[in-house]
């Protein structure tokens, strides 16, 4: 095989996978061309500078909070031994099922001036008591950071579990203490996974609308909404979204550049059981307190608050329809997870070697940009692209009605465009651990491509596949704008119900469907953590 034809295959696969995103971006660009200059001038003069600064603060702050929490907790549960470690290693993933917008409204409802906590504190310490306001830049960064840390935790833990202990051993043999081992060896070695998790967090924070609007914190995304809803200009909104998207693409490119051409391949899995550093006495309990504190704030306390509200409305809001909401939510999340996984594996396989060529890598990066686009903008792109497809179909092939618009396929199309990045991260991480020499050896034994995938790649991707499925599944369950805008009749999900309640300002009534999302999300989270534990024990 010469070099050019070796690149043609990967490139065509990657381009094929990038097609949904390409259709969506084409629709967004076409819309953005119609943006009114007068509105743009207004935004430039009064809005953009402020929201750009706010957005930067949010992205950097949230990545810092989620990155520190996620990395620290992953290190503790993967490479250290402390009281309750086994429990926390899976429990710390549970907050992933708690949507950021839900955590935000629980935080504001309980911690703002009129909330139960400040009210109690004032009753106790007097009316003049000053408390840091939750509705502030600090508040929004802390809350969203806490909501998103599981993304980093999940990715970092995977990395630390496979080479954490060995790294410590080798660090020890070089005369480094455990802290030096962590900062000078383990973290640098885990960099692609940490960066992957933090990139997801950053993109999620940039695209977030639900949580920041609870705080009335203006970001690029709220400016996009305002242009569309308030200034009646979807075109200007789409243009803003493209600007945001360009920044994200630049930031991701910069990270890649900084990482350079270094290759990260982990030691062979299955060599030895993980060795954990015992944290004796006081230090162990400090770790327990830290893990317990995060778990309480990110999951237990908000779940209790939700349960209290949900109980109040359950007598008249909870009925048989909830079974259908849960079924539909799980069905959509399951289908979307499988679709994203299939495409992510194709993409990861096509781009697993640097020799795949620039075109393939560029297409892969493009295909996974959707995660940074506010869901509602992506939804506009999806309905526009599908509408255009439907009209073209009618014009050339006749018939009437809508072929794709308003079908489950339209929904899945939107989910894939948005969440492919979420599946691609862990899959790519998985492929990067399969050393090229292994593949060459397998090929020299006469394995065909198909066998190579089924007998070498898929088994070694195991953990990555589980992570990818879980991330997409949980993200789809929480997803609102695409579901709202493209769902067929009768396809109301739990997130739709949350939207309908919060849109009317009835947050307490939104607690019931929110709690149902959390409960339904626990199942896949539990499955994955059980798998991870088993894999770790087997290793």
């Amino acid at each position: 095989m010469d070099a050019a034809s070796a690149r043609a295959g990967p490139a065509s696969v990657a381009i094929l996978v990038a097609l949904p995103m390409a259709a969506v971006v084409a629709a967004i660009v076409q819309g953005a061309l119609g943006a009114e200059p007068a509105l743009w001038d207004h935004l430039r003069e009064y809005v953009l500078a402020r929201v750009a600064a706010n957005t930067l603060v949010l992205a950097v702050g949230v990545v810092a909070v989620a990155g520190c929490l996620g990395t620290a907790l992953a290190w503790l549960t993967a490479a250290c031994e402390f009281p309750g470690r086994a429990f926390f290693s899976w429990a710390l993933l549970l907050p992933m099922a708690m949507p950021a917008y839900v955590l935000a409204f629980v935080a504001v409802a309980t911690l703002d001036y009129a909330g139960i906590v400040p009210t109690a504190l004032r009753a106790w310490l007097g009316n003049d008591l000053w408390l840091p306001p939750i509705r502030s830049a600090g508040g929004v960064v802390a809350v969203i950071g806490i909501a998103l840390y599981p993304y980093v935790y999940l990715m970092a833990r995977g990395a630390f579990l496979t080479h954490g202990a060995r790294v410590l051993e080798s660090a020890q043999s070089l005369g480094l203490g455990p802290w030096q081992g962590l900062f000078r060896v383990a973290i640098p070695l885990a960099r692609p996974w940490l960066a992957g998790g933090m990139a997801l967090v950053a993109m999620e924070a940039l695209a977030d609308f639900g949580a920041v609007s609870v705080f009335n914190y203006d970001t690029f995304t709220t400016a996009i909404y305002e242009s569309w809803y308030g200034l009646f200009s979807v075109e200007t909104a789409l243009l803003l979204a493209l600007v945001l998207l360009s920044f994200v693409a630049l930031a991701l490119a910069a990270e890649r550049l900084a990482r350079g051409r270094r290759r990260y391949t982990a030691a062979d899995a299955g060599a030895r059981a993980p060795l954990r550093l015992a944290l004796p006495g006081f230090r162990g309990w400090l770790a327990t307190a830290f893990a317990g504190g995060v778990f309480a704030v990110a999951f237990v306390l908000p779940a209790v608050a939700l349960a209290r509200w949900a109980l109040a409305v359950a007598p008249f809001d909870l009925d048989g329809r909830y079974v259908a909401y849960v079924m539909r939510t799980l069905a959509l999340a399951g289908m979307a997870a499988l679709a994203c996984l299939a495409l992510a594996v194709a993409l990861g396989y096509a781009t697993r070697k640097p020799s795949a060529g620039r075109l393939a890598h560029a297409a892969a990066r493009f295909a996974t940009l959707g995660y940074a686009v506010p869901g509602t903008v992506l939804a506009v792109g999806v309905v526009t692209a599908l509408g255009a497809f439907d009209s073209a179909w009618r014009a050339h092939l006749g018939g009437d009605g809508l072929w794709l618009s308003g079908t489950v396929l339209a929904l899945l199309f939107g989910y894939v465009a948005r969440f492919l990045a979420v599946a691609y991260g862990p899959i790519q991480g998985g492929f990067s651990r399969i050393r090229p020499s292994l593949e060459e050896a397998a090929r020299s034994l006469g394995l065909a491509t198909r066998e190579l995938i089924s007998r070498l790649h898929l088994p070694l991707l195991g953990a990555g596949i589980g992570t990818a499925l879980l991330l997409v599944f949980v993200d789809v369950m929480k997803e609102m704008p695409i579901t709202l805008m493209t769902r067929p009749f009768g396809w109301d999900t739990l997130a739709v119900r949350v939207f309908e309640m919060t849109a009317e300002g009835e947050w307490e009534r939104a607690a019931l469907p929110s709690l149902a999302i959390v409960a339904a999300g626990l199942l896949p989270v539990a499955l994955l953590t059980w798998r991870m534990e088993r894999a770790a024990r087997a290793a």
Binding site: F232, G406, A503
Partner: protein, 340 residues
């Protein structure tokens, strides 16, 4: 290089079949009526089902915000399944009309039931429930005699005592739009800047949070849609915030509407008109508005007792469509004045 082939067709067939299983039964023989509604499920579904039963047809609906529903209608074009479009704001109705998504209809029943300032002169849309945005005050700390107009809330005496919802809320944008129409842009901007200078705390994400902050003592006066207070008073009889009808000596209290129209490409046009007439009829009006403590658009229908208890008020009768049209101008004014 070959890749395992993905059985796309099978996946599609599965998805469609799963859809049929999960989306519930289709029940009726007649042509279904399809409603795109920004008025949310919990406020309308029961009435929709009642209409379906009464007419022996199926009523299908999807909810979303007004703007995305408009975009969905645009993208679907002539093949959109929608027959009726319902919003919670006059601006969205105006915008849908501008985009050519609604068709004008003539209906004696609707024209006699709905006052002229609450409907489109050409019949593209009709108000169905009226939402008044007015002054709220903390009963323990403010006497009604201290209150008069929206503009008076900009006076220095309210410094540090005013609470507002976000300027990004459509109801605030429509309030500002009304003032731009009534007293011009310069005077409106001066008033809004006065409000911002009087704020006790950052603007709130919604009216309910703001009203609770007022009750807790964070501020004394605010501007709210009356129904948000209605809900809180319904839950807690002695909720320490009350309604004051603003601008009664002037042009009247600001009102917006939740209303609907027939879509341009309605497949079931006759049923759509009949449905709107049914929603505007006295027996249904009380419940349509009452489910949310709003005022019926049909002037011959009494609101709920809890709503009547706030007393009657003079509404500003500038056509709500004009307010919708001015909304972008209002948004820019709000940005300039720094109303977050």
């Amino acid at each position: 290089m070959s890749f395992p082939t993905v059985p796309l067709r099978a996946i599609a067939a599965c998805a469609v079949r799963a859809g049929a299983l999960l989306s519930g039964p289709a029940l009726a023989a007649g042509e279904p009526l399809v409603v795109y509604t920004a008025r949310k499920y919990q406020l309308v579904d029961q009435l929709f089902q009642e209409y379906a039963k009464e007419r022996g047809i199926e009523v299908k609906s999807v909810t979303d915000d007004g703007a995305p529903l408009i975009q969905r209608l645009k993208a679907e074009g002539p093949n959109s399944p929608a027959d009726v479009f319902i919003t919670v704001d006059a601006g969205d109705l105006w915008r849908a009309t501008q985009a050519g998504l609604l068709q004008p209809i003539r209906s004696a029943a609707l024209e006699s039931a709905i006052p002229a300032h609450l409907r489109d002169p050409e019949g593209h849309w009709f108000g169905l429930a009226v939402r008044a945005r007015t002054i709220a005050y903390a009963t323990g700390r403010v006497k009604p005699s201290e209150l008069s107009t929206y503009a008076a809330l900009a006076e220095p005496r309210w410094k540090g005592k005013l609470c507002l919802r976000s300027g990004k809320a459509v109801y605030n944008q429509s309030l500002v739009a009304m003032f731009i129409n009534d007293m011009g842009e310069a005077a409106t901007e001066k008033m809004v800047r006065g409000w911002i200078a009087n704020l006790a705390t950052e603007p709130f994400a919604n009216d309910t949070l703001m009203l609770k902050a007022m009750a807790a003592g964070q501020c004394d006066v605010g501007i709210t849609n009356s129904y948000y207070l209605g809900r809180l008073q319904h839950e807690q009889k002695d909720f320490p915030v009350q309604i004051f009808w603003a601008d009664q000596a002037g042009k009247g209290t600001h009102v917006n509407i939740s209303g609907g129209g027939v879509t341009k490409h309605a497949k079931n046009r006759a049923e759509a008109i009949r449905f709107l007439e049914w929603l505007a009829s006295p027996a249904i009006q009380q419940r349509f508005a009452g489910s949310n403590f709003e005022f019926p658009a049909n002037a011959n229908v009494e609101p709920l007792p809890e709503v009547v208890a706030w007393g009657s008020f003079k509404p500003n009768t500038v056509n709500v469509g004009l307010i919708g049209k001015t909304q972008p101008q209002a948004v820019m004014l709000i940005d300039r004045a720094g109303w977050r």
